[in-house]
């Protein structure tokens, strides 16, 4: 057996997995009957539909010929890592992580970290340009979000402002 369309094959597996997970999860809640639908009724129904669709997709991916095999290609792990890393770093710095004892460092520090880390995902990296961009964005965000829109968030590290 040969996979004729890689994208569809793995999509099918993904949908099947998600469908089974939702349907199985739904059985933990009261399913009920049509006239008296419990909280599990609709998710169970949808989970089954999704599993069937996923199975069909996988089946077609093994039988229907495609021109180039619809290869998934290389994963851009570096970009994924830096972009999502920048996002998570921003979250940690902005709000802190009380469970790990990390204090909130505030918006401004967060912006510098986010811009620095996410820029590493780009095609070229020039520290001076990145720092200028971060400074511009920090000032701009302060003016737009804190001063003009009055959003409530930690701006400076907690150990400075308390």
């Amino acid at each position: 057996m040969k996979i004729k369309s890689q994208k569809d094959f793995f999509s099918g597996l993904m949908f099947m997995g998600v469908g089974v997970a939702f349907a199985w999860g739904a059985t933990n809640y009261t399913v009920g009957t049509g006239a008296r639908m419990g909280p599990g009724y609709f998710p169970l129904m949808l989970g089954i539909v999704m599993t069937v669709i996923g199975a069909l997709m996988t089946f077609f991916a093994l039988t229907v010929e495609t021109v180039d095999g619809a290869k998934i290609g290389k994963w851009a792990w570096r970009q994924v890592g830096y972009i999502l890393g920048a996002n998570f770093a921003f979250g940690v710095l902005l709000g802190g992580l009380p469970s790990l004892g990390i204090p909130a460092m505030g918006l401004i520090v967060g912006i510098y970290a986010l811009v620095l880390i996410s820029s590493l995902a780009g095609h070229s990296f020039n520290l001076k340009q990145v720092l200028i961009l971060a400074t511009v964005l920090a000032i701009g965000s302060y003016l737009a979000f804190i001063w003009a829109l009055k959003l409530q968030m930690q701006v400076w590290p907690t150990f400075i402002t308390g």
């Binding site: 996923g54 069909l56 972009i83 998570f88 979250g91 918006l107 811009v115 959003l151």
Partner: protein
């Protein structure tokens, strides 16, 4: 006449300084993201939603709507000057628009796009104003069974008209419906699929999904592409005004594009993108006049028709949202979210309970279109400069605005974790060739569908035949089935695949 008194109410709302200001702001932002490739209206509207909390609902909706139709204008600028669609709906404008620019006729191409869009936008707004009240009347006759069937029709319509694999699109809808069910069940109070995480009992934030999948997912996909150099016509655009000959060619194309776009926009899943595709295909089928430039070589009709169509479609896709409360595409799904944030339940009652909002929004669209012509034609130089901003400055800014925006929806870092997770999910979808727009639609409709299904079956005592014995509901389901059958017909199937692959 009703229409006139309604519109005058609308204009009295839209003409207040504050609403004019937000309309202008929305149009500027829309043009901006339209011009910039790599960021679309879905991500932008999601980013700005939190910022509209403080605004009055009318102003917020006026601004968000402006972003959507403004993006249709801006997208054409990039398409013509850079050979790159600034917005997905201007994909076909690239073909003839860029060729015109290469021949030194960028000016007339931009003018054709701008004027065509303005005409189409005005007509679209009028259609919206004229058709909304009678449709609302019909909507009031709808019971839960009809609503459920209507949503089925809407979702089927959305996948039929979407590009790519039908099966995948349906799967994405179901996935969206399922994700929409996460959180506390309104009927029983049971927290479903929340894994004992308190934040999840409120459900997954749709801002986090929209930003993660459409914002982060797209950025990662863009960055993974090798850097390419494109020829940008940043020099001065001269001779903006089309010649008499151009006008003669443009006019019928604009009319055809508008008519097509306006009707396709109303259909579920329609909206701007499909309208542009269809309009270009039709223009290509018509016979060339003697001495006319062939299509693909810089024919002005190839710019005027799709640009009119996408703008008319953008305008009329508000009809199902405002009359039935059912979003026909991903952007409208976000508008539902925006209305809910401001405590407005979308549906037929909006017109009677919030007439100033309803008509104010419609009137603002016409004003917005007028502003956009001015923004995009005389001030074109400003936008051209923007095109020279490199992507390496843009993407960190987008990531930052997404992160700040999603945090401010609840002032909780949990949303930042969610947007990151959905960013990865978005990239996964991209890699697997799964179009994400139907997911967002399903996500918004999930709870509504469950509620209407529950009510319909409760009323019929669990008898499923209620959906086919009530004539309106049966008609809607029949329409949905018909749509599916038509698409699965071999002849149509091949044509459909061709249409989406070719351009």
């Amino acid at each position: 006449m009703d229409l006139i008194s309604n519109l005058s109410l609308g204009f009295s709302v839209a003409f207040t300084p504050i609403n004019l200001l937000y309309c202008l702001l929305g149009c500027i932002l829309g043009t901006l993201i339209g011009v910039l490739p790599g960021i679309g209206p879905v991500a932008t509207i999601a980013m700005l939603l939190p910022a509209t909390y403080a605004l009055p609902p009318v102003s917020a909706l006026i601004m968000l709507a402006g972003i959507y139709y403004g993006a249709q204008y801006g997208g054409s600028t990039t398409a013509i000057l850079v050979n790159l669609p600034g917005e997905s709906s201007s994909v076909v404008t690239v073909i003839d628009g860029y060729q015109m620019a290469r021949k030194g006729r960028a000016g007339p191409a931009l003018a054709a796009a701008g004027l065509g869009s303005f005409f189409a936008g005005s007509v679209g707004t009028l259609i919206l104003a004229a058709f909304a009240p009678p449709l609302t009347e019909v909507a009031f006759k709808f019971g839960p069974a009809e609503y459920f069937s209507l949503m089925i029709l809407g979702l089927i319509g959305a996948v039929v008209l979407a590009s790519g694999s039908l099966l995948k699109a349906i799967a994405m809808i179901v996935l969206g419906l399922l994700l929409g069910l996460v959180g506390t069940d309104v009927n029983s109070g049971v927290a479903r699929f929340s894994f004992d995480i308190p934040e999840l009992t409120d459900g997954i934030g749709f801002v986090a999904i929209a930003m993660g999948v459409f914002g982060y997912g797209e950025i990662i996909a863009n960055l993974a592409q090798p850097e390419d150099q494109r020829e940008v016509f940043t020099g001065k655009v001269e001779g903006l005004f089309p010649t008499k000959e151009d006008f003669k060619r443009m006019l019928p194309a604009v009319l055809r594009g508008t008519a097509l776009g306006a009707s396709l926009g109303i259909l579920p899943g329609g909206g701007a993108l499909l309208a542009a595709f269809a309009a270009y295909t039709i223009e290509k089928k018509t016979k060339l006049h003697p001495g006319e430039v062939p299509f693909g070589k810089g024919n002005i009709r190839g710019v005027a028709a799709p640009e009119s169509a996408n703008n008319a479609g953008a305008q009329t896709s508000f009809i199902p949202l405002l009359t039935l409360g059912i979003p026909p595409n991903a952007v409208m799904a976000l508008m539902v979210g925006a209305m809910t944030i401001h405590n407005i339940q979308p549906g037929p009652q909006v017109m009677t309970s919030n007439p100033e909002l309803f008509w104010g929004l419609i009137a603002s669209m016409w004003l917005g279109n007028a502003m956009l012509v001015i923004l995009n034609l005389p001030l074109i130089g400003m936008w051209i400069k923007l095109l020279t901003v490199p992507y390496k400055y843009l993407f960190p800014s987008i990531v930052l605005f997404c992160a700040i925006g999603v945090y401010s929806t609840n002032n909780n870092t949990f949303d930042i974790w969610m947007v990151g997770i959905f960013g990865f999910v978005g990239y996964l979808f991209y890699k697997l060739g799964c179009e994400p727009a139907p997911l967002l639609l399903g996500f918004i409709l999930g709870p509504m569908m469950e509620e209407n299904l529950r009510r319909a079956l409760l009323l019929s005592r669990g008898d499923w035949s209620v959906f086919v014995t009530r004539p309106l509901s049966a008609g809607l389901l029949a329409a949905a089935a018909l749509l599916l059958i038509i698409v699965l017909l071999p002849a149509v199937k091949n044509k459909r695949e061709e249409a989406f692959v070719e351009e």
